[in-house]
Symmetry: D4
Subunit: 248 residues, 8 copies
Amino acid sequence: MASQDTKNNRSPMQDETPHSALSREHSCIVSNHTLLDHGRPQRTGCPEVIFCEGKTPAQVASIFQEMINTHGECLGTRASKEHYDAVQKAVPNVRFNTDARTLIFDDSNKKKIGCVLVINAGTSDHCVAEEAAQTAEFLGSNVLRHFDCGVAGVHRALHAAKDFTKASAIVAVAGMDGALPTVVAGLSPAPVIAVPTSVGYGTGLGGVAALMTMLNGCAPGVSVVNIDNGFGAGYQAHIINAMAHHNR
Amino acid sequence: MASQDTKNNRSPMQDETPHSALSREHSCIVSNHTLLDHGRPQRTGCPEVIFCEGKTPAQVASIFQEMINTHGECLGTRASKEHYDAVQKAVPNVRFNTDARTLIFDDSNKKKIGCVLVINAGTSDHCVAEEAAQTAEFLGSNVLRHFDCGVAGVHRALHAAKDFTKASAIVAVAGMDGALPTVVAGLSPAPVIAVPTSVGYGTGLGGVAALMTMLNGCAPGVSVVNIDNGFGAGYQAHIINAMAHHNR
Amino acid sequence: MASQDTKNNRSPMQDETPHSALSREHSCIVSNHTLLDHGRPQRTGCPEVIFCEGKTPAQVASIFQEMINTHGECLGTRASKEHYDAVQKAVPNVRFNTDARTLIFDDSNKKKIGCVLVINAGTSDHCVAEEAAQTAEFLGSNVLRHFDCGVAGVHRALHAAKDFTKASAIVAVAGMDGALPTVVAGLSPAPVIAVPTSVGYGTGLGGVAALMTMLNGCAPGVSVVNIDNGFGAGYQAHIINAMAHHNR
Amino acid sequence: MASQDTKNNRSPMQDETPHSALSREHSCIVSNHTLLDHGRPQRTGCPEVIFCEGKTPAQVASIFQEMINTHGECLGTRASKEHYDAVQKAVPNVRFNTDARTLIFDDSNKKKIGCVLVINAGTSDHCVAEEAAQTAEFLGSNVLRHFDCGVAGVHRALHAAKDFTKASAIVAVAGMDGALPTVVAGLSPAPVIAVPTSVGYGTGLGGVAALMTMLNGCAPGVSVVNIDNGFGAGYQAHIINAMAHHNR
Amino acid sequence: MASQDTKNNRSPMQDETPHSALSREHSCIVSNHTLLDHGRPQRTGCPEVIFCEGKTPAQVASIFQEMINTHGECLGTRASKEHYDAVQKAVPNVRFNTDARTLIFDDSNKKKIGCVLVINAGTSDHCVAEEAAQTAEFLGSNVLRHFDCGVAGVHRALHAAKDFTKASAIVAVAGMDGALPTVVAGLSPAPVIAVPTSVGYGTGLGGVAALMTMLNGCAPGVSVVNIDNGFGAGYQAHIINAMAHHNR
Amino acid sequence: MASQDTKNNRSPMQDETPHSALSREHSCIVSNHTLLDHGRPQRTGCPEVIFCEGKTPAQVASIFQEMINTHGECLGTRASKEHYDAVQKAVPNVRFNTDARTLIFDDSNKKKIGCVLVINAGTSDHCVAEEAAQTAEFLGSNVLRHFDCGVAGVHRALHAAKDFTKASAIVAVAGMDGALPTVVAGLSPAPVIAVPTSVGYGTGLGGVAALMTMLNGCAPGVSVVNIDNGFGAGYQAHIINAMAHHNR
Amino acid sequence: MASQDTKNNRSPMQDETPHSALSREHSCIVSNHTLLDHGRPQRTGCPEVIFCEGKTPAQVASIFQEMINTHGECLGTRASKEHYDAVQKAVPNVRFNTDARTLIFDDSNKKKIGCVLVINAGTSDHCVAEEAAQTAEFLGSNVLRHFDCGVAGVHRALHAAKDFTKASAIVAVAGMDGALPTVVAGLSPAPVIAVPTSVGYGTGLGGVAALMTMLNGCAPGVSVVNIDNGFGAGYQAHIINAMAHHNR
Amino acid sequence: MASQDTKNNRSPMQDETPHSALSREHSCIVSNHTLLDHGRPQRTGCPEVIFCEGKTPAQVASIFQEMINTHGECLGTRASKEHYDAVQKAVPNVRFNTDARTLIFDDSNKKKIGCVLVINAGTSDHCVAEEAAQTAEFLGSNVLRHFDCGVAGVHRALHAAKDFTKASAIVAVAGMDGALPTVVAGLSPAPVIAVPTSVGYGTGLGGVAALMTMLNGCAPGVSVVNIDNGFGAGYQAHIINAMAHHNR
């Protein structure tokens, strides 16, 4: 494919493609307020993921069952112990990670591909980093973890750098000063997905300081997701990794 | 490589790798204030890029020559006509794109790989989108452009969607409401790099509104760069594309 | 009536009209701190509505009785179960909607007019959307609901678009990226009242991100109310609908 | 039409309506960066409007001609004298309002309908208010103006109130404290579209103070557009007025 | 020099050097962390007032006794029921106002002077307004109250205006849109002290919207105190009133 | 007058007072956009003041003449040399203060009363402080100036303190840290009107830092006006001074 | 050592020093998420300090033991009673300061040096000031305390000034208006480390107002740490004091 | 009392009352608005420094002469070429540094002491860093410079680390992500004074992002000055260095 600009030859009258892309949708009404989007895997390569916070345990359990019936696997994020208890009654083999707050039912025979590296700055960033790691693993990536590598003791990030070339994508998680992703991107050929965390106090402003640091980092090769959004970073890192291993 | 956690078997005493990674550096002093980082390609796969804004034409010209002598190519961003005039005296074949404000001297025989798709929302986002496109092309990606596809007339984004599966990475540029990347990510398997632009007025707050929209988008598969940072998005999209085509 | 500018012939000495408009007021002291404004229906076409949050159950109950005695109907918003219990003792037929948090006593024989369409983006926006719907119904509008239509799966908004021409006014409710109203306004001839919700986390900043998206939307035909203000949007949509059906 | 909830009987497989709505589009490429949306009048009842700021005089002139050829009328906003000069060469009868910064070519025989009332708080809000008035008139509404009615001398708003019942929609424009729309809405049965202006200094923060006042107003029946967005308010007021006079 | 705490051996009585105004000071150490400023009445005309929030009931009680011993009267603000219980044991005649959260022990024979008028916008502003009223009364002013006079029904403020000429200073309290003080100042010869309250939600931002409205009001004769600072407004209004009645 | 609450005996039907207060108004249309409020002196004790910024020299000149014809005096603020030149042609004796940017035509025989003290922190605050001083003098107060008294050399404020008891009201002007008003209020019986200035850089945020300091000051007896609003402070100080000298 | 610029003669190939500085590191894995940095004292002169908030009592206890085994002393900050109970079981002589929330085990024979002066503005700042004092004492400095010296009664800061020349570094702690450090720095030859506290309400914004005051202070010789960061200020003051007494 | 300006007849020499520390003050009125504080060296160890921005060249020149007459040396910051030209006429040997924008007249025989190290992140931070260096040198410190050491190529900071032990204080200057001071403090025993710069764009918000990074840094031993305040950092570093070398 050439880098030519397609603007000149687009014919707005023939826009059949997007509609066929959408007509592949098979939506399904689960509860009173929720409409599952079963066409997502065909459009985007990944099934819908359940954001549990704000849903009742019963709602989460019924969505889980519907998802597993259709796709054979399901990931729930921001889950509580109560969500876990309700789901487990219907899906006994579901696993709950109390740090990452993930609920996972997956196919253990699915072969994992490539490598996503997850690195964080400090103990307090652990839960967000683990959410990223769990997400990437659920979606099908191998995950390599380097935790507690903040730049206040920069030798720790340097130590981890020996693994940077192994990864197709790196998730870098940091709160407070948020400086880790810049240092990592300066040492790595892989794209870095930065996650600010709400760790800290005072002018940390619930993660806004770290977010701003990351958006203003001097090293190219960094893009950023929302504060505490470990799921979003793990998802983005996985689809990059999948691109690199021809497995969408 | 397995997804095992490396924490338990890391031995902090043997951290020889990062230092050797750094000892590959060959820095070079160009002007009074600038130290070029010629080791970057070995560490990260891409040469250093010159941010021209705030540098004098003479400084930019001397850095350009030094870069071309070492690497055979050079990209300058945020360049003015004055920068162009100074560089052209030393490097006659340099090209200046007035929309993207890029200065480019590259090797025309370099084979381009894969596909980066650049989509923007409106006329006013054109310059930032073109900076992204120029950057990705310079670094070695084929680029496919879809411009003026804002969601106020959503059929335009749907029309472009027929090309989304061709791309390894998508750059989505939007100001004002910044809603385009969410719509694109819901229709595409490729990772989306979102760029907010400072287009707009009033509560647009110079792009902060669009930035916040993008960070809070409901579709996974989006990560964000700084306001107006077309270069950063084109760079990130290229290294993802390069990952997908084994060409780092 | 012509579009002539009235500035030249206004005579400030004869401003009898506003005072007669105000002298129609019949205020009524209910509790120690509250003065009911029984003249509102004559001035604005709608009776006063009770904002329950921050008032004691006993205060709400006594205001409800006073309102029903005078107007034969009453709407309370942001009500709790405790408010409901207190009101129900005095007004047995009052209805409580736990999602919308509305307390309603109305005249079931009142004929409803026209059509207000309420659309929301996701499950978490349901309560605010339902408050808008309950408000418009109480005031006398027919209401058509389309829920869970966020732009991350843009086919859902397109599906709802077939009903847009039926409505005199549309309430569009969305949190997180807040992109729904722009897409709706691009597909509809009716005015859109946008409601940002405080759903989300991190840089969502309690709804400010969605609010800014909506204020900066590229499609004309959108105006915005305060974060989570479903009542205000339902009220505004109703008076537009009433304008369109000559029933003020 | 009944107020029944359509959720239970929607069949996502039959979403033929939105696509036919979109297939009515007839887009047209004018310049290198712009794609006109000639299907807008069919979808939304109003033709596209040209935001001139940031476009060259030549671009604006060519868009104007294309619009007039297709629709017989055209409105440009945020126009400068240079825009006017370029358009006038091609369209001699175009009118330029230096206060409102509007460029208008319309059909003088079009009958105007109903009434939009435009009220502002002070001299400095005049230009934004006039942009709203010009927009509503161009789109086909009669407009009644009440200027310099700020609440620091509240008798001025009371005086204007005698005309409030004549209007189907009111545009209330105010900078600094932004208190006018609340007072107007408390005295009027028509919906109020509030426009904050960037007039003021210090903590006015370029209109953010007035915007916040308006979003937090105590009177229902107010919705808000972006700072200085006179066009958006005039457009919204017109489509409400058109709804009320069966003329879409 | 040792690291010993110098608090115990500092002798506040010997600070003769500073200034004649300051040498009138007689400070008194009450608890471990607090140093009472008994010289305040001589410098500023009013005794120190106790901000109870954040102090233990026992601390407040001991400060109260010390203050009464020296001055014969004492005012505590932001007091809780627990503070009241502790103080009442030592000072049986202390009065607790649950709305204003004030603790007052005063000399009932003190003659009150002049007139401070306190006006508020809505029911929810009552507590802050009452704190202002209690403060001004304690310090020695007559107080005239007009409550629930928000500008959404502007006739209520107009009604109160008949009393504006009776006052030497007006305290105007409002949350949400904060528009009341501007309207009051436009109708009154007395200086207006405006108090924004944290009432409201969404973009009210805990009172910042009302504060900004008040700072940007178009009518001169308004100055503003911190959000919810009823005490500060009542104090300021009293010293203005005292200025006007030669009774400092 | 007693401190009794008027709520219980107010009869909303008899609200004749405010209307008579308003019917005393005699407005006058000067230019196309401006309506003078000649009833202000009767309502508030002070004539309208002209905010020149944003008005043309011709507009200012015509307003000046109209004001002088009616009231015999006039004050313009934020005036430029161009405003002065235009006014001087019509009103030869008008005076222009280039620091305060005031245009003044007054009656030199008017007797000045009492004392307003104006104190500022540093050289850069001079213009705002002088605007306050000119305003208070024009309105009829004697003014005592203490300039360059910032708390970084706290002996300067202590030196000025010897005059604090002479004043009925103090205007304290400060930028940067904005700490001066707190120190002044702790040493003075008179009410302090604090004016933050936009002097400074970086986190000064155009005066917001100083504003926040002043709103959070620990000493009671301070109220605040908008950033750089010397006029507002001088006006407020004058009406307090006038209250204290029975001369409204 | 001369003040010559080292830029011209730095040879990037010989950067052996930093690596040897880092190779002195001896890290130690304590818990699952934490990696102690035992090389810190050699690099920076001070051992690592434990931030207890967010760690379980068991985690804190095991880290304490590991630290004491290696260094013979340990400081924990932001500790709760639960942390204390857990540590005390393993380290009976640990001391808990409930105001400062510090856990300290130190060598009582260590000789303290020089002088750090800690001054605060009000009762509510006590805990943060005491954290600074405890930190500086633990690290080896003599500490002189002056508490409750806010500038609202400026004679208190003047009184403390007699000790300013005794100190090598001053920690100045203030909330609300944050004006104390400026006044102190204007009276002292020692560097001032300013600590804003989150004391206050309304526009205090959790300490941001005080922070901004301190960053914009007019007196040089002030630098600032994060809101409520007493530990950081005590640490910084100690290392300055240590510099002055040749005891690193 | 008349409204005359008291500036001319205040006698700064008679302010003996305040304090013994303050009575050593000898102020001097230079221009109309400025009062020099010749007592500063005795109180704080350093003479007053002239902030030139906002002063006329003539004002700066007269202050310079007065300062040199009294102290034999003078430093001006934020000076322009126009300031330099005016000063040079009166003080021919004054030196102007165009990068740092400093005007310096000093005693070349003064012996410099100790070592202040100034490090910056990138080319664009050069001017602020040089202002810090010039300030520290003027005040009497030896200065060691390490420029262009941003953490995007972390080996550059590691290289500079070999000099960290030579310094008594380190000034670390960085814009954009502001991460440099944290890395430096983790490698150094000396206190770090961090200076955020306004370099960058978009969410850099004129240096606020870098400021927040620095306030939230994870390494102790960092305190921060205002954005672009190179002077403040150089001053603070010098007085720390002077403390360490007994030369105040």
